[in-house]
Amino acid sequence: MYDDNNRFPRLPWIILGLGIVFLAIGSYIGLFVAPPEALMGQVQRIMYVHVPTAWNALLAMTFAFVCAVIFLFKSDWKWDARMEAAIEVGVVLAFLLCCQGAIWAKPTWGVWWDWDPRLTTTAVLLFAFLGILALRKFVDDPARRAIWSAVATIIAYVDVPIVYYSVRWWNSLHQLQSSPSTVSRQFWLPLRMNAFGILFLMTAFIMLRARVASMRLKHELAPPPVLGEMA
């Protein structure tokens, strides 16, 4: 229906629907069914979207890295399209993560940003991948654009653990806060549902966005039209 090469044109839409359903149910449980946490009260509920977003942001970036590596080896355009999609979705999720983190931090620590290593690394990652998207916008030649952004993605992704450890170290000298990592057993259900919800949404977004990239590429690589046919 949309793309000649695609055998399952409806698949992304099904996954999208599933994602919305899971996210809706998981959020409902997280908001209204799960009891408030002992120490932090209602604010804890933010974790039910924050943690799933974090998992999926990292997943998107990892997938972008994998696509980049595969593209450099195989020079197959579809991996470039998928990488572009994964980077864009990853940027959106990373941005979301920073917003959620700030909303969580304000009531908890009294400041909008507490230099938590994971969140700070996410911010750096956000800028790094935004830069790669900018690079793609400014390079016209598709082959160069693909190769360069693949190289940049690999370099940025390798940097992630290094950034994380250096920020953690840098921060540990000043603060000894515990991060909001532990969620006790009874709260797993909304967390899992939202995790799957965002996973499905992310997958659907990547599939659809990759299709957009793929179609644009086809248009770019197509031979120029004969003069008489130009609109």
């Binding site: 450099l72 800028f127 830069g131 360069w148 370099i155 290094i162 250096s166």
Partner: protein, 219 residues
């Protein structure tokens, strides 16, 4: 192969030493501007002197790095160089080393400016130079790679810092921290750990960028 490339680069840099002077003045001006941002409070300035030095170096590095491929771009020599039997790796390391040397020199030249403006003197000068060398190495490796990319693009001015700055955050953190400890005092001898972090960052990026450089300049 590498020595030939390196010799060519150093010759090019020597020929454009006026450019180096200009970048130095830019860096010194940046350090001055930072003090205006904070105010004439001696203790505060001394506290942040390491940060200012490295921010000044970082900003200056975008000028140096962008210039480093200028010769190639002017005469479209990039393709010509690749037709020579030398491999892209030699070209990369030659340029990266030359850029590194220039940045280290710049850092050392800015030390007296820092000492004067921020009252940030120290007796541990060899250690300070080591930190500057390791930190600028961290800037030079990815910087040279991205300079090669962005030299061939129209909006190179914005793209180079945009791509480089998030990447070198660990090198920046470690360099500032180490420099700060050297200037302000280091009772628990933490400098060594930061230097190890810097050295590891350098090792990883000098190998990774060299490996990937071939992809960036091939036609």
């Amino acid at each position: 192969m590498l020595t030939a490339a390196l010799r060519k680069e150093l010759l090019l840099q020597w020929r454009s030493r006026a450019q180096f002077m200009a970048v130095f003045v830019f860096g010194a001006a940046a350090l001055l501007l930072f003090s205006f941002a904070v105010g004439p409070v001696a203790e505060l300035l001394r506290q942040f002197s390491a940060g200012f030095l490295w921010l000044g170096l970082l900003l200056s590095s975008t000028l140096t790095l962008a210039e480093s491929f200028h010769a190639e771009m002017e005469n479209r020599a990039m393709e010509g160089l690749l037709l020579l039997p030398s491999n892209p790796r030699a070209l990369y390391y030659g340029k990266a080393i030359a850029n590194w040397l220039q940045l280290t020199l710049l850092g050392i030249a800015l030390i007296p400016v820092m000492v004067v403006l921020y009252d940030a003197g120290t007796t541990r000068v060899p250690m300070l130079i080591l930190v500057i060398a390791l930190g600028t190495a961290g800037l030079s490796a990815p910087g040279t790679l991205y300079a090669a990319m962005t030299a061939q693009v129209t909006s190179k001015q914005t793209l180079l810092p945009l791509l480089l700055f998030p990447l070198i955050v660990p090198a920046l953190l470690a360099s500032v921290k180490a420099t700060s400890l050297i200037i302000l005092g280091d009772p628990m001898n933490q400098v060594r750990s930061w230097i190890v972090l810097l050295a590891s960052f350098d090792a990883i990026y000098w190998s990774l960028c060299g490996l990937l450089f071939g992809n960036v300049v091939e036609e």
